[in-house]
């Protein structure tokens, strides 16, 4: 699995990029879900999201899951392209698969990439 060091991670498998304010679903989460067939972003630009509140609904061939905000902040951008191409979450979870961007996002309980990798490894075993 892949967990870039510049990002922060939640226990519910979301990432947050402190430099851009972007957030999304981790590589570990997309591989667990397998082929993602439907994404709906649940928030709009101008909304304020709280860390831990739902920002997207994701359905794969195996499961239906909700993605939670990895930081608190005001939404400044929403990735509308995702609903057209939900498979982007599988192919590029940290790039084109970003879900929303927030302004001056304040993270809640997050881990760095090393801690997150260990957290995922422990769950796999």
């Amino acid at each position: 699995m892949n967990a870039p060091t510049k990002l922060k991670y939640t226990k519910s498998d979301e990432w947050f990029d402190p430099s851009s304010g972007a957030m999304g679903l981790s590589d570990y989460a997309q591989s667990q879900l397998s082929d993602i067939v439907f994404v709906e972003i649940l928030v709009d630009v101008g909304d304020t999201v709280e860390a831990g509140s739902p920002i997207a609904s994701v359905e794969s061939v195996k499961a239906s899951a909700e993605t939670y905000a990895s930081a608190t902040g005001k939404v400044v951008a929403v990735n509308k392209a995702l609903s057209e191409k939900p498979e982007t979450l599988n192919s590029d979870p940290y790039g084109a698969g970003w879900m929303v961007k927030v302004e001056q996002g304040a993270t809640g309980d997050v881990m760095d990439s090393a801690a997150y990798e260990k957290f995922c490894a422990d769950r796999t075993h």
Binding site: F38, E40, L42, D44, S57, E59, A63, S64, E66
Partner: protein, 451 residues
């Protein structure tokens, strides 16, 4: 062997846990004299005697099959049901199965639902159909759930035409209790003569859904295209509650660009029974398929490349999405959906249209004859399908009582739901009503007005 899956030891453990000594302790709040009261029943009858007694009681029922002539519709209609419908429905594979959706063992049921969905989308002109709901009223309420999910609760107003079936409007209110919605448009003072265009003024940026009926509760046919366009310009969705028989003849809700089309499937080969069970159809645009309640069967190929059917979308239901689902109602009317599919396939496009045309022409003959009676007249002037509101110039219940004395079930008395129409009957005419029956309705009603 015992079929009670509990041992004495387990029972004692449970009693100890809840803090009582014996099972009887659980009943000590029921006074002793009421625990095993003497029932004072008559002596037992033999099977032969019971059968005779029940047959006797059943014989006092009167139905539309030979006993009474009916002009009652208002949501449930008397249509001819080809005998093949019942033959298919009574096959054990379909009749007794409960939620048989494993593709390995249920290709027949799944294909039946798939065919039903395909036929419903053809009839309504919509893109997708689910596997059905309980009845037209609950399907209409699910349309509100869809719209609520679509706007994620950010829009809170539903505009309902006062000419949507009163019971549907009541069910919608029951379903949406606690959702903090504003339901507007159908209060007691609403103008029943108003054109659908007038609903436009109530649609605003907070409106999630507009609900209209087609033909409306009074049988009138409106083209909702312009109203839908206006609602869309405010971002709202539109649901049309439709009569499926009429759709074989009229412009479809799909052609009007409706977002959702629901209705009661009873006219599609299902008896009126005692008012149910029924079948609620629910069709929508592909865009909203992920917000649609219920399940969807799709066609695919199996591992050997053979055509096969599977549940394609079930994520909206409680077993996957649980509290995040659009609706918490998982049931569909699988058997009755199959009946509707058989009916539509047996009649075909031409047969469906013939039924609709017969209904239309017979209803228009009846309306013409009835409006000639002195003191009576049609309440509305718009085009109608197979139902119309007739002013009878005296309390409708009185008129119906008189008709019943002549073996005729009259129309639906409109005064209960629309106080301004207390002297009005909603008369339904289908292909089952002969010219003689219509003429005798005219004769009896003529007498009424001479009394």
């Amino acid at each position: 062997m015992t079929y009670i899956p509990i041992s004495l030891k387990e029972r004692d453990a449970m009693l100890t846990t809840i803090g009582v000594k014996t099972l009887d302790d659980l009943f000590k709040d029921v006074p002793v004299k009421h625990r095993f009261p003497k029932l004072n029943l008559p002596p037992a009858l033999t099977e032969m005697e019971v059968a005779a007694e029940l047959a006797d009681i059943a014989a006092s029922n009167e139905s539309v099959h030979g006993d009474l002539i009916s002009f009652l519709g208002a949501g449930a209609y008397h249509h001819y049901i080809p005998s093949v419908v019942d033959h298919i429905l009574r096959r054990g594979e379909f009749y007794t199965a409960y939620t048989p959706y494993q593709p390995e063992i249920s290709q027949g049921t799944l294909q039946g639902i798939f065919e039903y969905q395909s036929l419903m989308t053809t009839l309504t002109g919509m893109e997708v159909s689910n596997a059905s709901h309980y009845d037209g009223a609950t399907a209409a309420a699910e349309a509100v759930n869809l719209a609520w999910a679509q706007f994620r609760g950010k829009r809170k107003k539903v505009v309902i035409s006062p000419t949507v079936h009163p019971q549907y409007r009541a069910v919608i209110r029951t379903y949406t209790q606690g959702m903090e919605l504003e339901l507007a448009g159908d209060d007691g003072n609403a103008d029943l003569d108003s054109s659908p265009e007038e609903l436009k003024s109530m649609v605003d940026e907070n409106t999630m859904l507009v609900i209209v009926q087609y033909p409306d509760f009074f049988g009138r046919i409106h083209d909702y295209t312009k109203m839908i366009e206006a609602a869309h310009s405010k971002g709202a969705l539109v649901c049309i509650v439709a009569n499926p028989t009429a759709l074989a003849l009229l412009k479809t809700p799909g052609e009007m660009d409706a977002d959702i089309c629901v209705g009661d499937g009873q006219p599609l080969g299902l008896p009126m029974w005692y008012g149910g069970p029924s079948l609620g159809f629910f069709t929508t645009k592909k865009t909203y398929v992920h917000k649609m309640a219920g399940r969807l069967v799709g066609e695919t190929v199996d591992g050997r490349g053979q055509r096969a059917y599977v549940l394609t979308l079930t994520a909206r239901e409680q077993h996957i999405k649980r509290e995040r689902a659009t609706s918490n109602i998982c049931s569909n009317e699988g058997l009755l959906a199959l009946g509707a599919a058989v009916y539509m396939s047996v009649l075909g496009k031409t047969g469906m249209r013939q039924v609709a045309e017969l209904c239309y022409h017979k209803a228009h003959y009846a309306a013409e004859q009835l409006s000639k009676i002195k003191g009576m007249g049609l309440c509305f002037t718009e085009p109608f399908f197979h139902e119309f509101a007739l002013c009878v110039d005296k309390p409708a219940e009185e008129v119906n009582a008189h008709l019943l004395e002549h073996g005729i079930i009259g129309g639906y008395a409109l005064g209960t739901d629309y106080p301004a129409l207390k002297n009005h009957l909603l008369i339904a005419v289908t292909e089952m009503n002969t010219k003689e029956e219509i003429d005798s309705l005219v004769d009896v009603l003529s007498e009424v007005n001479h009394d």
